[in-house]
């Protein structure tokens, strides 16, 4: 077994174990952390495939931004995990049987014999100075410019939808108006009233 295969199997084993842990651990915070591990190990696998740019993007975007945000949300929300997990053990045997049948069927239908190296040649290895990022950029802005622009439109729709569905104007909410605060003069707040001194009645 070559060094590369050993590395691959090590990362693959961690990946599978971590993704199983995501759906089995009791604590949602732990589940999110396992998901981070899953993303990280899959990034390592992509690195082995010489897809450096995608691997780094996965770590930066998913691990760095999305998952941290997700963790934040999970910590903020008080999710009662016991209610969600009700019946987990009861449905487990059926679930395992169904999953096994699906796995076996899919291995028969789309097993490795249809996608082996005899169907597709192994991609050529590149030298260390080969820039993945440059190649991706080149193809993304030329051949794939049309799908790329549609993807941009999809993201724009997502932004519009998210704002339209969540933005609420609450007139009764009290908030500070900094400009108004700074512009306030003494006379706006304090009024000096002259009063006649009153004699104490005896």
């Amino acid at each position: 077994m070559s060094m590369e295969q050993i590395v691959f199997y090590a990362f693959a084993a961690i990946l599978v174990a971590a993704s199983v842990a995501v759906i089995t651990v009791r604590n949602p915070v732990h589940a999110v952390l396992f998901l981070v591990l899953t993303f990280f190990t899959s990034a390592a696998l992509w690195m082995l495939l010489e897809a450096e740019f995608l691997a780094i993007t996965l770590v930066l975007v998913y691990v760095g931004a999305v998952m941290v945000l997700f963790l934040f949300v999970v910590m903020m929300l008080d999710i009662n995990i016991t209610v969600l997990r009700e019946g987990f053990i009861r449905y487990l045997p059926v679930g395992i049987i169904v999953a096994l049948v699906v796995v076996v069927e899919m291995t028969i239908a789309v097993g490795p014999k249809y996608f082996g190296l005899e169907h597709f040649a192994e991609p050529a290895r590149h030298m260390a100075d080969y820039s993945n990022t440059k190649e991706l950029g080149r193809i993304l802005y030329t051949v794939y410019v049309y799908p790329f622009e549609i993807a941009a439109a999809i993201l724009l729709v997502a932004i519009v939808a998210a704002i339209a569905l969540t933005l609420r104007r609450r007139p009764q909410t009290k908030y500070q108006n900094a400009g108004w605060q700074v512009a306030t003069r003494r006379n706006d707040r304090v009024r000096i009233v002259k009063m006649e001194t009153e004699k104490k009645e005896s």
Binding site: V110, F115, T142, V143, Y146, V160, A161, L165
Partner: protein
């Protein structure tokens, strides 16, 4: 450096798409600056966008098939015809929705912006020439639709409908994508020409392809709402505001037809034997469930939802013989259906007013005594949907049945006729309610002038097409040449 021989795309072919995208962004920004009272500006700009896109599409039409953008975009007659119908239908949807939305405090810029982005998604689907663009167009459309359903935030029904639609729709997208990935795995390409060339040349149809076809068909059936993947249709149609139901139920069906044509016929045409059987089952189940369950509905939006399912069954019947004749009859069917659906849901909106949704069957009681003209238009629409002779719905059904008989599938044509007869019951029940039942509700029906004109035109168009269907038939035949 394989892509150094990159060919500059012919941007002119995609001008309508570029125009709609730019205008949607302009409308989005302009809407921020017009006040609550001048919201009608947003509406007019959206309508102008659709008109402009129609002018561009017709003006750029050459009649030749051209492929550009590295093989991901195709411009052909079928695409142009379908696009023009999509603009037309969407423009009528916007027109019908205006008053309905205003009365319910839903007259916001987002409805029109999301509607325009949905139109863009449909256009991308219609002129897609790669699995990737089909998928992206579909996602752009679906995402806009999910958001539009949820726009009425205070309505529990709408929120529930949006949630169901979103979860099931994402699942369906996943299925479709998985099927596409199988084709990519075998053929090594996402381009429709390359996939179909590979399929034509390879003699052993291996099991992976069959596996991929199953997932693609399931994904498509979900999106079309064919039985047994129809569960979301009645809930979404019922829960969404009627203006959104109108949008979902009409123009996207035309885009779905285009998606079927591009994916199954142009891409996977050589696997015809594999998908024909699946479509037969989907079509029979859809016609059966759609027509029979519709009888039990007391809500007209739900009833029309089940009727949509039945019509989708008919649409599939036209595609499955795999003949040019069948495709053109299917196209005719879906265009006619879009027109009838517009009228049907439009009538529900026309009869409703502030705080009152005319979406129960009882609300149509005695419509003749309240407004003979609109009762007459509803009569035309219902007769046409039922497919009673000398209505356009009849010609559409007849064309599909003819295509089936020519392909030696007479038994399937017989089944289709039987279910159509069952379906006629619930359409005619509305006619009975309108003409023979009395109503206590004598509140006048006073729609705005544009709504009145559009609804009359819609009804008369269905009527005229019933008498003179050959122009539209010829157009459909020419589009698929």
């Amino acid at each position: 450096m394989s892509n150094m021989n990159f060919e500059m795309p012919n941007f002119a072919l995609a001008l309508p798409e570029i125009f709609v995208l730019c205008m949607a962004c302009v409308v989005l920004l302009a809407d921020l600056f017009v006040g609550e009272r001048n919201r009608v500006v947003t509406y007019l700009m959206s309508q102008a966008t659709l008109v402009g896109a129609a002018i561009l599409t017709v003006g750029l039409h050459t009649g030749e098939t051209q492929i550009t953008f590295g093989g991901s975009f195709i411009s052909d007659t079928m695409g142009d015809v379908l696009k023009v119908f999509i603009y037309l239908v969407t423009a009528v949807v916007f027109l019908y929705s205006r008053e309905y939305l205003r009365v319910r405090q839903l007259f916001t810029g987002e409805y029109f912006v999301l509607g325009l982005f949905g139109v863009l998604g449909m256009m991308v689907m219609v002129s897609a020439h790669s699995f990737l663009t089909i998928y992206l167009g579909l996602e752009l459309l679906s995402l806009s639709l999910y958001a539009m359903v949820a726009l009425q935030r205070d309505s529990i029904g709408a929120t529930e409908a949006a949630m169901k639609y979103f979860v099931l729709g994402s699942l369906a997208s996943g299925m479709l994508l998985y099927g596409m990935s199988m084709f990519y795995g075998v053929t090594g390409s996402l381009d429709i020409t390359e996939v179909s060339t590979y399929l034509a040349q390879s003699h052993d149809k291996n099991i992976v392809l069959a596996f991929g076809v199953v997932f693609v068909v399931v994904g498509l059936a979900f999106k079309l709402g064919a039985v047994p993947f129809h569960m979301w249709v009645p809930d979404v149609y019922h829960g969404a505001p009627t203006s959104v139901t109108l949008y979902i139920g009409t123009a996207p069906k035309i885009a779905a037809f285009a998606m079927l044509m591009r994916l199954l016929v142009e891409g996977l045409g050589d696997l015809h034997m594999q998908w024909q059987g699946m479509l037969i089952m989907l079509a029979i189940a859809s016609m059966a469930a759609g027509n029979i369950i519709a009888i039990a509905q007391s809500n007209i939006k739900r009833m029309l939802a089940y009727s949509t399912i039945a019509h989708v069954g008919f649409l599939l019947l036209g595609i499955l013989p795999g003949t040019e004749n069948g495709y053109s009859s299917s196209m005719f069917y879906i265009l006619v259906y879009a027109l009838m659906g517009l009228g049907g849901f439009g009538m529900v909106m026309l009869l409703s007013r502030a705080g009152f949704e005319a979406d129960r069957l009882e609300d149509f009681k005695g419509l003749n005594q309240r407004s003979p003209w609109f009762a007459f238009i509803m009569l035309i629409l219902m007769i046409s949907m039922a497919g009673i002779p000398v209505s356009v719905g009849f010609w559409a059904k007849l064309a599909v049945l003819q295509a089936l008989i020519r392909a030696d599938m007479t038994w399937l044509a017989v089944v289709a006729v039987l279910f159509s007869v069952i379906g006629a019951y619930y359409y005619l029940r509305i006619v009975k309610l309108m003409y023979f039942d009395k109503t206590e509700d004598n509140s006048p029906i006073q729609p705005a002038l544009d709504m009145r004109v559009a609804m009359s035109a819609n009804g008369l168009a269905v009527f005229a097409l019933g008498i003179y269907p050959s122009a539209l038939t010829a157009l459909c035949v020419a589009a698929l040449k």
